[in-house]
Amino acid sequence: MWTDPAILEWIFILVKIIVIFGLVLSIVPYTVLAERRICAWIQDRVGPNRVGFQGLLQPIADALKLMLKEDMLSNHVHKVVFTLAPALVFMPSLMVLAVIPWGSAIGPMTCVLSDMNAGMLFALAVASFSVYGIALAGWASNSKYPFLGGMRSAAQMISYEVCLGLSLVPLFMQTGSLNLSAIVEYQTQHGWLMLYHPVACFIFITSLFAECNRTPFDLPEAEQELVSGYNIEYSSLKFGLFFLGEYANMLVASALVTTLFLGGWSLPFAPFNAPATVIWVGLAHVGIFVAKVCAMLFLFIWVRWTVPRFRYDQLMALGWKVFFPLALVNIVVVAVIMACRANL
C-alpha cells in the first residue's frame, strides 16, 4: 500500500509542504538575527549576543516579545482590511516557494512542490500580490503616514514589476521554457545564466531590492520621513507578520535569483551538475540551494547597511528612465545575437 504511487505522491506533497514551511520559518527569523549581527559588525559593534550562545536564541525572544505585546486596534481603522493586510503580505511569498525547485530529487521525490509549466509566470503574478497587503495596510490604517507609505509602495512596486518581468524575457528566449525546473536543468548543462545575461541579472536583482522594500529602495517605510510607513498602526503579532513577510519576501527573492541566474541547486561539476540519482547527492543539492540563497540574503543585508536611501524622484527615474529602456534594449540585443547565432 505504501508503494502505491498515488499515495506516495500525497505523502511527498505533504513532506514538501513541511519542508518549505520549515525552511521559511527557520530561515526567516535567523535572517533577522543575521541582519542585526551583520549590521552590528559593519558598524564595529557586537550586536545581539546575549540570548543563547552568540545570540542564537534571540529570534525566539523577539517572537515571544512580539506575541506578548498588546494587540492594538485603533478606533479609526478599517477593521477587516486592517486585520487581513498582514496576511496578504506574508502569503504570496509562501505561494511562490511552491514553484521553486529547492533541490533535484531525493530518492523518488522531486524537490519542487508544483512543477508548473508556467512556473515563472505564476511566481511573478503571485509575488506582485504582496503590494496589495502593503497598500491595503496603508489605506486601512486611515492615518497619514501609513497612507503615504502604502501609496509609495504601490507606485514603486508597479514600476519595478515591469522591469522585473522584462529583464527575464531574454532568459526565456534562451532557455525556451517558463518552467523553473527546466531553467535550472538548462543551467546544469549550459552554465549559469548570470554569465549569459549580466545586464538582466543586474536589473533583476536591483528590481528585487525595490520589490522587497529594502534599502536603498525602502521608501514605503522610510523611518525618517514616514516614521515607519504602512505599519505604524500595527502592533503585536500583526506587526510581526509584516516583519516576517518582509523577510520572507527577501527569502523568495533570493530563491528566485538563485534559481534563475545562479544555477539553482546545481554546481558546475559532477556529480552536482545533473539531477541526483542517489540520496546523498539529492540532499547535497538541497544544501547547495540553501547555501546560494544564504549568499543572496547576505548580499541583501550587506547592501542595506552600505547604501543610503534614494530620493523618491530618483527611485522613479531609475525605474522608468534607466532600467525600463535598458531591459528593452537588452531584449533586442539578445534577440539579435540569438538570431545571428541561429543563422550562422
Binding site: W41, I42, V303, W305, T306
Partner: protein
Amino acid sequence: MIVERPKLTIWDRLYMPQILKGMWITLKHIPMKRFTRQYPEETPPLPKRYRGVPTLVRDPEQRVKCVACQLCEFVCPPRAITVIPGFRAETGPDAKVEKEPSDFIIDMARCIYCGLCEEACPEEAIFLKKDYAMASYTREQMKLHKEKLLELGGIHEDRICKWKKK
C-alpha cells in the same frame, strides 16, 4: 559663499563604482575590532570627578552629619530632595547638634546628578558617590530614604569634626 553644484561625469552618474566602493568598505569593517563594552561584566572606567548617586555620610564618630538645614532641598533644581526635619535625642552624644533629618528622601527618578546639593551643604553631609546603577522596579523604590542614603554614603573622613568641639 555660493557653492557650485559639482558637475558629475558619466562615471559618477553611474553610481555603481561608488556603491561597490562603499560595499568594499563595509565588508572590510566586518572583521574589524569591536568597540562595544559588554556592560555588566565590563564596567566603564569612571572619570575622577564622576557624579553618581547623592548619599548622606557620617563623620568618623558615627554622627549623622546632616542637620536637616534643607539647603540642598532648596537648591536642588528638579526638587528631588525632601527633608523631614526632626530633633536629635535630647540625651544622646549628639544632643548638642540639636537637629537632624527624621527622614531624608532623594527621589532618584528626579535627580539629575548635578551635584548642587553637595556644593550647597554647609555641613559637608551629602556627597555624590560613584554608584550609578540605581534602577528599580517601582517609583517608590526610586525614592531613597535616610537609612539607605547613609548606608550608601558610609563614613566621611572629616578633618574638622565641627560638632566634636561644640
